[in-house]
């Protein structure tokens, strides 16, 4: 984003003038308030985490300075989970990139017949929470789960047995979770690519598959690498899937190891913090590389003239395209939902639907239990209020870093983008350390939950809003000033109405992200501040599959309904 700011920034002379013109004490006040809030939100957990990584004791207890935690990073246990993390990350990213990009190519470049329905369902599966997906696949793929029971008892082919509690299982479920992300990031470059490059290859005598291999994919290279790195980052910082699948099978990734060190005896908060620092450095470096690549590699291939391109006929490969697209949707969305609904309706879990004793008691329990009702209310408060806070902060940050550019705006821009590199569970640990010392009674409150979520997802808001703001020519505001508007009126009457679509989009994005967030909440929730994701998690950990499934079904339905409503009310939210 800083590069964008530099590129979009006016030359020095006019900037000096606009700063002088900013004059308004109110605007200056708002700027410094925003600056302080954002810096505090981001810096406090990061500093606390680094502090903790050099301490011998748990947060809040007397201890000494030490380097022992970093020495612990070289222990065989941590090294092996580091290796596991990187391997699982690489495999997942490669599979997701291949499948996601292929689906995007099929949907947007061939005469595939069901594009609309596939796009809609992949959009849904993008919002399908990772921990709910993992739960459904445990019910299917655990050693005593549906798949293995059918293999053993019905088919009698025990050589086909599979175990989801393995590295391969984690890669499989994580890929299912990441494919929609890859699809969504590759869709823009693929459908926005100027078709002329492919047409030129076509007239030069290249057959459709040669065009694909020699022109289309190389031109998408930077987008592919960028999407690959982001997928890798999201995979190695994933918490829910490796925790649910890896802990029973003793496959430990860095994020799960950090969680285990904090939540289970023998605890070691210092080592956990050091792991958090290490993990953040890896993700941070990867994101830095991704930024460099995307700014360096902006080939002028995207024009907006798309749509004239002739679609590639699938011909005799149509069955394969159908199989891939609908196979993914079945495995990643439809089957998990069906399994969860089935499980939620059973009194006792059984693989054979004919033997099942069906009941609605799980749903009735959700309705009647004070704790689940409270977790619903908590979630709605955190998502609704939190998203509003996040969008407001994001809008202010964008205005200051992209438009007003007062002193220190580059620092603000940098700080805002930092949380991108901090995994959720690491952020939670940082907050745990911080609020053990800070004299603020925030621990165990919903406010802390909101702070955690807003910090983690603030870059989503600034990216969404900033992306639109840089495209709005500054002269539109200047014209308003020339015609007698003050700076504030210029913002209110011109800029705000023009960025409204992205503000709505950002609110939607944050609401959805908060609603299904678990990794940054798992270390800081208390009984009173549990959100839905935490409740589902707890029920599942207590092996109460029925209740966890029922709650997951309700939560998923709420997400889908909210999505449908917002898509209808705010057509532009689709961009988000």
């Amino acid at each position: 984003m800083s590069e964008q700011a530099i590129a979009a920034g006016p030359p020095a002379v006019s900037r000096a003038r606009s700063r002088a013109g900013a004059g308004g004490a109110v605007l200056t006040g708002v700027y410094w308030a925003t600056f302080l809030i954002v810096v505090a939100m981001v810096a406090i957990p990061v500093v606390a985490l680094v502090y903790g990584s050099f301490r011998t004791s748990a947060p809040g207890l007397p201890g000494e300075w030490t380097l022992q935690n970093y020495a612990g990073l070289a222990s065989s246990g941590v090294l092996s989970s580091m290796t596991t993390t990187l391997i699982i990350g690489l495999f997942t990213s490669v599979i997701s990139i291949v499948v996601g990009t292929t689906i995007a190519l099929i949907v947007h470049r061939t005469d595939f017949r069901y594009g609309n329905i596939v796009v809609a369902l992949i959009g849904l599966s993008f919002y399908f929470p990772s921990f709910i997906l993992a739960m459904a696949w445990i019910i299917v793929g655990a050693p005593g789960g549906i798949y293995n029971t059918i293999i053993d008892d019905v088919l009698g082919m025990s050589w086909l047995r599979a175990d989801i509690y393995t590295s391969a299982g984690i890669v499989f479920v994580m890929s299912l979770h990441q494919v929609p992300f890859v699809y969504l990031t590759m869709r823009g470059p693929i459908s926005g690519m100027d078709p002329i490059y492919e047409e030129a290859a076509n007239t030069a005598g290249a057959k459709p598959h040669q065009v694909l291999l020699r022109v289309t994919l190389p031109l998408l290279g930077y987008s592919l690498i960028s999407s690959f790195i982001l997928t890798f980052v999201m995979t190695i910082e994933q918490f829910a899937i490796p925790a649910l699948l890896g802990i029973p099978g003793q496959v430990t990734m860095l994020a799960t190891q950090l969680y285990l060190l904090v939540r289970f005896t023998p605890t070691d908060y210092g080592l956990a913090a050091a792991i958090g620092v290490a993990l953040s450095l890896i993700t941070g470096a990867a994101i830095w590389a991704q930024r460099r690549i995307t700014t360096a590699g902006r080939l002028t291939t995207v024009t907006g003239k798309a749509g004239r391109l002739k679609l590639i006929p699938l011909g005799r490969w149509r069955w394969a395209a159908n199989l891939l697209c609908f196979g993914f949707i079945f495995l990643g969305l439809v089957m998990p939902m069906v399994i969860l609904i089935y499980t939620s309706l059973l009194k006792w879990f059984t693989v054979n639907p004919l033997e099942g004793m069906y009941t609605l008691r799980n749903y009735i329990f959700i309705w009647e239990s004070a704790s689940t009702v409270r977790s619903f209310t908590n979630t709605l408060i955190v998502s609704g209020v939190g998203a509003a806070v996040g969008v407001t902060l994001g809008l202010l940050c964008c205005y200051f870093t992209l438009r007003l550019q007062p002193r220190g705006y580059r620092a603000l821009d940098f700080v805002v983008s930092l949380p991108f590199g901090v995994p959720g569970v690491v952020l939670g640990l940082g907050l745990l350390w911080a609020y053990a010392y800070l004299p603020l009674p925030l621990y165990g409150t919903l406010t802390l939950m909101i702070i955690a979520f807003v910090t983690r997802f603030l870059p989503y808001a600034t990216e969404t809003i900033g992306g639109q703001m840089v495209q709005i020519d500054k002269s539109l505001e200047e014209a308003a000033w020339v015609n007698g508007a003050t700076r504030a009126q210029g913002i209110w009457r011109i800029l705000l109405p023009l960025v409204t679509p992205s503000v709505q989009g950002a609110y939607f994005l944050l609401f959805m992200a908060f609603f299904r967030e678990i990794s940054s909440a798992i270390l800081i929730y208390s009984v009173h501040t549990a959100v839905i994701s935490i409740s589902i998690w707890s029920f599942f950990e207590q092996a109460n599959w029925g209740l966890a499934s029922a709650l997951a079904v309700v939560a998923t339905l709420i997400i889908f309904i909210a999505m449908a409503l917002i898509m209808r009310l705010v057509p532009t939210a689709r961009r988000g």
Partner: protein, 361 residues
């Protein structure tokens, strides 16, 4: 015939953009498709290239049917052996100059050594050989244009297609490239279809020009025919500058303006129409000071007053009001606004044109 187009139809959904047009391009002939934007010229070219599937009619290249949708025959673009230059050049940014130019050969499995040789030849022709290892981002617009040209000719195509190739160049460069394309085309002796909205380009480069409007051919002919004898007001207006005088059939076989001034017109072979106008090219009108002279046989004379004057360096364009009709005149003499002048123009340069249907104009 190198290219033969019969009744070409192209629709986008319910919108028909090309209404059954037909034309030929002979071997080595240079044809321009000329018209305003949205007239269907680019769509026609893309149907020739195979980048768009036609909805009707037959296209033959070198006697081979490449597009006949009614017979379910559509040869894909990569099998049509064409060379094409795109408006924005479409130089692949991830390949070097040599990679771009060699693509049409290597994709057809030509051995690497031959590719290198032919690439060098093609680059030599466009004067770009010294830049063969450059990347497109290091090239100027004019250089990219040359690379595109080299890429179009390297595979010895049976036809060359140009889609407004000069519209992204500045005026000076455009003129030079125009001459170069023409020279190249003559040397290669290859049938060429050139799409443009610039009448100057079309007139100066083409053996024949096909003027299109609303997906139909309005007139096809040599540049001279189009300029001297446009079929209707649209062509006259689009090709070159012109003034128009309303005329109707007067006594006997002659023509006269609504105010009754008789005019001697070139009306040979003029199409039937409900209304007519006389077209005058500004450079074929002679302008003289004062009110003098009368019409002679074969020469029209009108008296008028100078309304406007625009100095353009090589000449001045005057707008003269001659008894209610306004005539543009190019002259190197000086007149002041309000001066009384006499206009003289021979019959052969005063062409009768049909007024196109007003519904469509």
């Amino acid at each position: 015939m190198s290219i033969n187009v019969q009744n070409l139809v192209k629709r986008y959904g319910s919108l028909t953009v090309v209404h059954g047009i037909s034309f030929d391009v002979g071997k080595g002939e240079f044809i321009s498709l000329l018209g305003p934007s949205g007239c269907g010229k680019t769509t026609t070219l893309r149907c020739l290239a195979g980048l768009e599937d036609a909805d009707g009619g037959v296209i033959q290249i070198d006697g081979r049917i490449v597009s006949a949708p009614e017979q379910d025959a559509l040869v894909p673009a990569h099998q049509r052996q064409i060379g094409m230059v795109f408006q924005s050049y479409a130089i692949w940014p991830h390949m070097t100059v040599a990679g771009n130019v060699g693509f049409p050969l290597s994709i057809r499995g030509v051995p690497a050594a031959d590719v290198a040789k032919q690439v060098d030849e093609a680059l030599e022709i466009v004067g770009m050989r010294h830049l063969r290892e450059r990347h497109p981002s290091q090239l100027s617009g004019g250089q990219q244009q040359r690379v595109a040209l080299a890429r179009a000719i390297v595979g010895r195509p049976r036809v060359l297609l140009f889609d407004e190739p000069l519209s992204n160049l500045d005026a000076k460069l455009r003129e030079g490239t125009r001459i170069e394309i023409k020279r190249l085309q003559r040397e290669l002796d290859v049938a060429t279809v050139y799409v443009t909205h610039d009448q100057e380009e079309a007139l100066s480069m083409s053996d024949r020009v096909v003027v299109m409007e609303h997906g139909r051919i309005t007139q096809a002919g040599t540049p001279k025919e189009l300029y001297r004898r446009p079929a209707n007001r649209f062509v006259a207006d689009f090709v070159g500058r012109a003034s128009f005088i309303d005329v109707e059939r007067g006594k006997g076989n002659g023509w006269s303006t609504p105010s009754g001034i008789a005019l001697q017109l070139d009306d040979t072979g003029a199409p039937e129409a409900a209304r007519y106008q006389a077209m005058l090219r500004p450079e074929s009108v002679e302008i003289m000071p004062g009110a003098n002279g009368r019409s002679e046989d074969g020469i029209n004379v009108l008296e008028g007053r100078v309304l406007e004057s625009h100095y353009l360096g090589a000449y001045t364009e005057y707008l003269v009001d001659a008894s209610g009709t306004r005539v543009k005149v190019h002259s190197r003499s000086d007149f002041d606004i309000g001066d009384t002048v006499t206009l003289r123009f021979p019959q052969e340069f005063c062409r009768l044109v049909a007024l196109a249907d007003e519904a469509r104009a």
